[in-house]
Amino acid sequence: MSSRRDRAIAKRRIGVNLTPMIDVVFQLLIYFLLATNFALGEQVFRLDLPDRGGSQQTVDPFEVVEEPLRILVESSSSDENGLRIRIDGPYPQPESLEQLERFLTENRAEAGIGYFLEDHPVDIVPNESTHWGHVVDVFNATVRAGYLKVRFSEPEPMTP
């Protein structure tokens, strides 16, 4: 008698209807799948910023201060054609990034018969309205040409 009642109770299961929950969870899953944007393909240029008197530096009194090679960068528009490069000094002026890279590579002492050692300082001098993409392009060309000391100068005020 009692065993039959026990069986009857055991059969009467209490169930929660999970269907709406699964529906909502799937909606959330799809939303996050679509909305998540991974930073794929991002790479970095590592840049050591100059030390500005924070720590004591020993200065070699016999060291000859090398005049940096200054590359002036201007933008007339944000696309690739808007880039203007000028090298300060009596050098052939490059028309494009490729020419700049060739000039820098050929004039590196290790690579060709050039004036500059690989640790010769190179200053990239943008003006205030130079687009960041162009600055990075010139930086990239200089690094690819094998120079180790590449710096960003303070932007020059606009010349009228």
Partner: protein, 159 residues
């Protein structure tokens, strides 16, 4: 014959528990990941030098400074780890003290700089200057290291 149908028609049920488990794990993963990437990654067109000499990012601890792009090469503000800083001297001061805080917590910190390719240099130069100043005033032994974030051609071409 009637005995067969006494319990009603046979019911086939799939066991949904493992599926729900997996789905919940996925939901939690995407919730967490999207919160993290929202803090670090602001929608912008990064510079795309090609062929590039850049390297894949390392797993070192980092803080990301985003220069939030506006129209026509302008910038709206700077964002560091989810905090917004205005353009101009006041915002730059705030940015500097925040970077000094981060440096004193972790001297080996790397700073990633993300800026739109159209953003003009006058908005980016203050950031470089500020990181340099913050690094020297936080008493680090070595100079600050900054990572310029670019995007590689292969991945942006299928956008």
């Amino acid at each position: 014959m009637s005995q067969v149908h006494r319990r009603g028609p046979a019911q086939i049920e799939a066991n949904l528990t493992p599926m729900i488990d997996m789905t919940f794990l996925l939901v939690v993963f995407f919730v967490l990941v999207s919160t993290i990437s929202e803090v670090e990654s602001v929608e912008m067109e990064l510079p795309e030098p090609s062929p590039t000499a850049s390297a894949p990012p390392t797993d070192d601890p980092r803080a990301v400074i985003n220069v939030i792009p506006g129209d026509e090469g302008e910038a709206l503000n700077y964002r560091l780890n989810g905090f917004d800083f205005q353009l101009g001297p006041q915002g730059i001061d705030g940015l500097r003290s925040r970077i000094i805080e981060l440096y004193s917590a972790n001297p080996e910190l790397l700073i990633n700089l993300r800026a739109d390719r159209r953003t003009e240099q006058k908005y980016i130069a203050p950031v470089l200057r500020t990181v340099t100043e913050a690094a020297s005033s936080s008493g680090r032994e070595s100079a600050a290291r900054i990572n310029l974030v670019v995007i590689t051609e292969r991945d942006s071409s299928n956008e």
